[in-house]
Symmetry: C2
Subunit: 128 residues, 2 copies
């Protein structure tokens, strides 16, 4: 391992089992984290509005996802002590940076979907 490439140096430790950034990546890029952060990129959401936006997520998973992201400092939780309660979720500056990168990833993947579908058809074809 020469490690003269600057990008290599930064990325190297993520391959180590015990690397703590793996856990953050799972929160951020996992099934629900990526969608929650992407949704919050267009502004603050209340709990149930966010739940409607991220179609298919259960109440439990949304709460769990938001807690993890709040703990990591990517999402801010603002509670107005009114009745009925009003809780707003929004991105922190770090959350915004990561969310923006995730949007780029989503955009990239969506742009390649025709090729992906073609590849899948080819793959499924050759072994049927």
């Amino acid at each position: 391992m020469a490690a003269t490439d600057p990008i290599e140096d930064l990325v190297a430790d993520v391959f180590a089992r015990a690397c703590t950034s793996r856990g953050v990546l799972e929160n951020v890029a996992g099934k629900w984290g990526i969608l929650a952060l992407a949704a919050l990129s267009d502004g603050a959401y209340r709990f149930n509005a966010l739940r409607r936006r991220v179609d298919g997520i259960s109440e439990k998973m949304l709460a769990q996802t938001l807690h993890a992201l709040e703990r990591d400092g990517l999402v801010r939780r603002d509670v107005q002590g009114t009745i009925p309660p009003r809780v707003e979720y929004s991105l922190t500056p770090i959350g915004e940076k990561i969310s923006f990168k995730l949007l780029e990833l989503i955009e990239l993947v969506e742009g390649e979907m025709p090729e992906v579908h073609a590849a899948r058809a080819r793959y499924d074809d050759t072994r049927r």
Copy 2:
């Protein structure tokens, strides 16, 4: 939903439950997919070499991950019919594009790790 923002248009459907790109995103950005693609960014790997590189992954999960990525057209599988068998995995052009974006994400997250750790300490502190 006005949908006049160009980035919004591209991203919108990922929030729909039935969107097929969600599945691709899970393969790509999931716990193991992100590491496999990132590892392959520095060239072709044989199965067991890749397994050593992605520390902690089991044989089963690596095989499963590589199959999914191969089916999606992101990873190419080259078999040399020698004995013992020699199988090399490498990125397709689309795989390279996505891998590069993932490396940027990893780099970004790793750069924010000090802040993330601080946020976690604060969070855990206030509720103990």
